[in-house]
C-alpha cells in the first residue's frame, strides 16, 4: 500500500524513530489481510493474546516503563510511530489500555514493591492491568465519587473498562475519606463481577461491579491519585489519537487506491473532480491530525504542566476523533456498495474509528474541556 502521507515529503525522522517505525511496519505486514483482526471479533477477550505476546517480545509493552523496571523508557516521540502502525494494521491487542493508560498509572504511583513486582511482568507480556476510573458516561472527571472505599472494602460501579476480559488486575480509583485513592484489585477478587458490552469494533468494554471487595495493594493516596489518573488519561488521549491517525491514514490509502482502480463510465472514478476534491479534503484532515499528533508528542516528552497536558490532550483528541470519523465514513461512501459489506476491510476501519473516537471522551467532550481550560 503506497504511503500518501506527507511524512516522507516533509518530516525529518530521527534514526531511532525510523528503526522503531520500520519494525512496526514489518509487524503489521504479517497480517495485511486483517485475518487476526477478524478472528478476534465478538469473542472474549476481544483481542488476540498471541499478538499481545509478540508485541511484548518486541519490547513495546515496556515502551513507557523506565529502565529500572526492565522497560525501555522512551517517550511519545518514538511511541507514536508504533501507535500509527497499530492503527493502520487494526492490530487486535489492548495496547493503549494496557501499555499506556494502565502502565502510566502504575509507573507514577509510589508503591515500590508493587512496581518492582508488576512492571517487569507487564514488560514481558506476562501480566495485563486495566485502569478502572470512569463512573459516568461522557465524563473526564478523575475524582472518584460513586465508587467508595471504607473499612477496607470497595463498593460501586466502574464503566467502560476496555478489554477487561483479558486483564489480570484492575487499577481502581475509589473515594476515601480524604479524596480519591488508587488500589490494585485482582480480577478474581470476591465480590467483583464483570458485565461485558459488545463494542462495535468487535472488542468488549467491561462494567465492573464492586460489592464489598476487599482492597488489594494501595497504589496511591488522596494526595496523588487524581494527578496520576489525569496524566494517564491525557496520555491515553494522545495514544488513541496516534492510533486514530493510523486508522484514518490507512483508510484513506485504501480509498485512494480504490479510486485509482475502480472503472465506471470508461474511466477510473478517481479522475472525477467531485471525488478528487472530496479526497483532498480528507487528506487535509489527516495531515492536520498528523501535525497535531507530532506537536503533542513533543510537548508530552518535555515537561508540560498538568494544565498544558490536558489542553493539548483535548486538542489532539478532538481533531483526531473528528478526522478519523470523517475519513472512514467518507471512505465507505467512496467505496460504494462494496464498502457496506462486512467482507470489505474498509468497514473495519470505520468501526475502529467509532470505538477509539468515543473512548476517553469524544470530540465534543474534549472541545468542552478545552473551552473550560482556556476561555
Amino acid at each position: 500500500m503506497e504511503d500518501i502521507s506527507l511524512q516522507s515529503r516533509i518530516d525529518a525522522l530521527t534514526e531511532e524513530q525510523v528503526l522503531i517505525q520500520d519494525s512496526a511496519v514489518a509487524f503489521i505486514a504479517q497480517d495485511e489481510e486483517l485475518k487476526k483482526t477478524r478472528a478476534s471479533r465478538f469473542v472474549q477477550p476481544g483481542f488476540d493474546t498471541e499478538v499481545w505476546r509478540e508485541m511484548a517480545e518486541l519490547g513495546w509493552a515496556g515502551f513507557l516503563v523506565p529502565e529500572a523496571y526492565d522497560g525501555i523508557g522512551l517517550g511519545f516521540n518514538e511511541l507514536h510511530t508504533v501507535l500509527i502502525q497499530l492503527g493502520k494494521g487494526l492490530v487486535p491487542a489492548p495496547f493503549v489500555a494496557t501499555g499506556v493508560v494502565a502502565a502510566r498509572a502504575l509507573i507514577d504511583c509510589d508503591n515500590e514493591s508493587v512496581k518492582k513486582e508488576k512492571l517487569p511482568a507487564l514488560v514481558v507480556g506476562g501480566w495485563k492491568p486495566a485502569l478502572a476510573w470512569q463512573e459516568a458516561r461522557g465524563s473526564l472527571s478523575v475524582s472518584a465519587q460513586q465508587v467508595t472505599v471504607s473499612d477496607g472494602k470497595i463498593n460501586g460501579v466502574k464503566l467502560f473498562v476496555p478489554d477487561a476480559g483479558g486483564a489480570d488486575d484492575f487499577i481502581v480509583s475509589a473515594a476515601g475519606p480524604n479524596g480519591t485513592e488508587l488500589y490494585l484489585v485482582n480480577r478474581e477478587a470476591s465480590g467483583l463481577s464483570i458485565d461485558y458490552e459488545q463494542r462495535i469494533d468487535g472488542g468488549f468494554y467491561g462494567t465492573l461491579n464492586f460489592q464489598d471487595v476487599a482492597i488489594g495493594e494501595r497504589l496511591a493516596g488522596a494526595d496523588k491519585a487524581e494527578v496520576i489518573l489525569a496524566r494517564a488519561i491525557d496520555e491515553g488521549c494522545l495514544a488513541i489519537s496516534a492510533e486514530l491517525l493510523g486508522v484514518m491514514t490507512r483508510a484513506l490509502e485504501l480509498t485512494v487506491d480504490y479510486l485509482q482502480q475502480r472503472v465506471q463510465f470508461d474511466k477510473p472514478i478517481g479522475s472525477f473532480q467531485a471525488l478528487q476534491h472530496k479526497s483532498v479534503d480528507l487528506f487535509i484532515q489527516s495531515e492536520i491530525s498528523r501535525s497535531v499528533v507530532l506537536q503533542t508528542a513533543a510537548l508530552f516528552d518535555g515537561e508540560p504542566s498538568d494544565r498544558e497536558r490536558a489542553v493539548a490532550a483535548s486538542q489532539v483528541k478532538a481533531r483526531c476523533a473528528d478526522a478519523a470519523l470523517m475519513i472512514t465514513k467518507a471512505s465507505i461512501q467512496l467505496h460504494g456498495g462494496i464498502g457496506y459489506t462486512d467482507e470489505a476491510n474498509i468497514g473495519l476501519y470505520l468501526k475502529k474509528a467509532m470505538y477509539l473516537a468515543s473512548w476517553l471522551g469524544n470530540a465534543t467532550t474534549h472541545r468542552k474541556r478545552y473551552a473550560e481550560l482556556t476561555l
Binding site: E2, V280, I288, S291, R367, K368
Partner: protein
C-alpha cells in the same frame, strides 16, 4: 546600503534578532497604519517603503550581493512574524517579491544592473500583468499578443486583477509570442514602463468598495525585445519557478489569530460566552486555528532544515483561507443585526466590523490559484489520482 554586514543577521541569536527587528519597527512604523483591513495605496504606505529602503530592510529574502538582507529561512520567518504581529501593512511589493527574485534568477547582467537598484530605491514600483478576462485559473490560455516588429514587440490585449496598478510605474507581464503548439510553450515574460504609449489603466472597485486592483489595456504598445526576461517563449517556466520560500506565508496563521481575538471581544461584548452552542462553535474555530498553527510550524521546520516545499503547501492555503472565512461568518452571526451594517459593533477592544470581515475574507480563496485549483493540484501531485 545596509548599516550592518549582512551575514551578521544570520549569525545573530534568534531572540536578539527578533528584539532588534521589533524595536526598530516599533520606532519607525506609523502607529495609525497598524492592522489596516485593506491593501494600502502608495500615498499611505509609500513612506514606509522608502524607510525600509533606507534601512536596507526592504528585501529581507534577497541575497546580500544584490542589496538584500540575505536572511536564511529561519531569520526570514522571524522577520515576517514580527511584521505580522505588529500589524505592518504590505507595501506595493511586487518588485520585491516577484520581479526582483525572478531577475536575480533569470535576468541578464544588464537587466539586473538596471532594475534591481531601482526597486531597492523605490524608483520602480511594479504591478503584475498575468490574469486576463479569459485566463484566470487557466492562466496558460492567455491571449495578450506580442508580435515581433524590428527591435520591438507590438503588444495588444487586456490584463485584469492587476493589484495596485494605479500606484505602479512599471509592469511585468506574460504575453503570447507563439500561438502554435502547447499553450504553455508560447508565453514570454516582458517588462515595461506603465507610461509607455498605448497602455491604459482602469481601476476596479471591489466588494470592499476599495480600488485595490485594476484592468490594464494594451493597444499597439511597443516594448523593446531587450525587455524580455529568460528568453522568448520561456515565460511560463520562469514565472512558475518563482514559487519559492515565500509560498509558506500564505499559510501563516497570524491573520486568523488576530481575527479570532476580534471575535472574542465581540462575543464578550454581546454576552455569547454564556451560550453553550456558541461556545462549541467558537472552540471548533479556535482548534481549527491551533491545528493550522501546528501544521504551519511543521512546514516551517522543513525550511529551517534547508529543505524545499512542494505542491503540498496547497493544503496550508486551503485550510488557512477557509478557516478565516468560517471565522468571519461566525463573527457576523454573533453580531446579530449589526452583522449587516458597515460600522459593525463597538467592543471594549475597539470597533469590530463583521460585515467588512466577511467581505474582506472572500478573495483569498480565489487569488493565487483558487482553492478548487489547489485541490486539483493536491489530487494529482500528492494523491496521484488520474487526470
Amino acid at each position: 546600503m545596509t548599516e550592518q554586514a549582512h551575514n551578521e543577521y544570520n549569525a545573530m541569536d534568534d531572540d536578539a534578532f527578533r528584539v532588534m527587528v521589533h524595536e526598530w519597527i516599533v520606532e519607525n512604523y506609523p502607529q495609525e497604519l497598524r492592522f489596516k483591513p485593506y491593501r494600502m495605496h502608495w500615498d499611505e504606505i509609500g513612506d514606509w517603503y522608502l524607510t525600509l529602503s533606507k534601512k536596507g530592510w526592504l528585501t529581507p529574502a534577497w541575497p546580500a550581493e544584490y542589496g538584500g538582507m540575505g536572511l536564511d529561512a529561519n531569520k526570514l520567518l522571524i522577520f515576517m512574524d514580527v511584521c505580522e504581529s505588529y500589524g505592518v501593512g504590505r507595501t506595493p511589493d511586487m518588485g520585491i517579491t516577484m520581479v526582483g527574485p525572478l531577475l536575480i534568477q533569470h535576468g541578464s547582467q544588464e537587466q539586473k544592473d538596471h532594475y534591481l537598484p531601482r526597486i531597492l530605491a523605490g524608483e520602480y514600483i511594479w504591478c503584475q500583468g498575468y490574469s486576463e478576462p479569459g485566463a484566470g485559473s487557466d492562466l496558460a490560455s492567455l491571449q495578450t499578443s506580442a508580435v515581433r516588429d524590428g527591435d520591438d514587440y507590438v503588444v495588444n490585449g487586456h490584463k485584469i486583477w492587476t493589484t495596485l496598478a494605479m500606484d505602479a510605474n512599471m509592469i511585468f507581464l506574460l504575453v503570447r509570442t507563439n500561438k502554435e503548439g502547447k499553450k504553455q510553450e508560447g508565453i514570454t515574460f516582458l517588462l515595461a514602463p506603465l507610461d509607455t504609449p498605448g497602455i491604459t489603466v482602469r481601476p476596479i472597485i471591489n466588494l470592499g468598495m476599495h480600488d485595490e486592483f485594476a484592468e490594464v489595456f494594451f493597444d499597439d504598445v511597443r516594448i523593446p525585445v531587450a525587455n524580455v526576461v529568460g528568453g522568448e517563449n520561456k515565460g511560463w517556466t520562469i514565472a512558475k519557478a518563482l514559487l519559492g520560500h515565500e509560498r509558506i506565508f500564505i499559510g501563516s496563521p497570524k491573520f486568523a489569530i488576530l481575527a479570532m481575538a476580534r471575535l472574542k471581544s465581540l462575543a464578550k461584548t454581546v454576552g455569547l460566552f454564556d451560550d453553550p452552542i456558541f461556545v462549541e462553535r467558537y472552540t471548533r474555530l479556535q482548534l481549527d486555528i491551533d491545528d493550522l498553527f501546528a501544521t504551519y510550524k511543521r512546514f516551517v521546520e522543513v525550511l529551517k532544515r534547508g529543505g524545499t516545499i512542494g505542491p503540498e503547501v496547497s493544503m496550508l492555503k486551503i485550510w488557512n483561507t477557509e478557516t478565516q472565512q468560517r471565522l468571519t461568518e461566525l463573527m457576523m452571526e454573533a453580531a446579530g443585526e449589526n452583522g449587516g451594517i458597515q460600522d459593525g459593533i463597538a467592543t471594549d477592544d475597539g470597533l469590530v466590523r463583521p460585515a467588512g470581515e466577511v467581505i474582506g475574507s472572500r478573495p483569498s480563496t480565489i487569488y493565487g490559484g483558487s482553492n478548487e485549483v489547489q485541490r486539483n493540484i493536491l489530487a494529482k501531485a500528492v494523491l496521484r489520482l488520474p487526470g
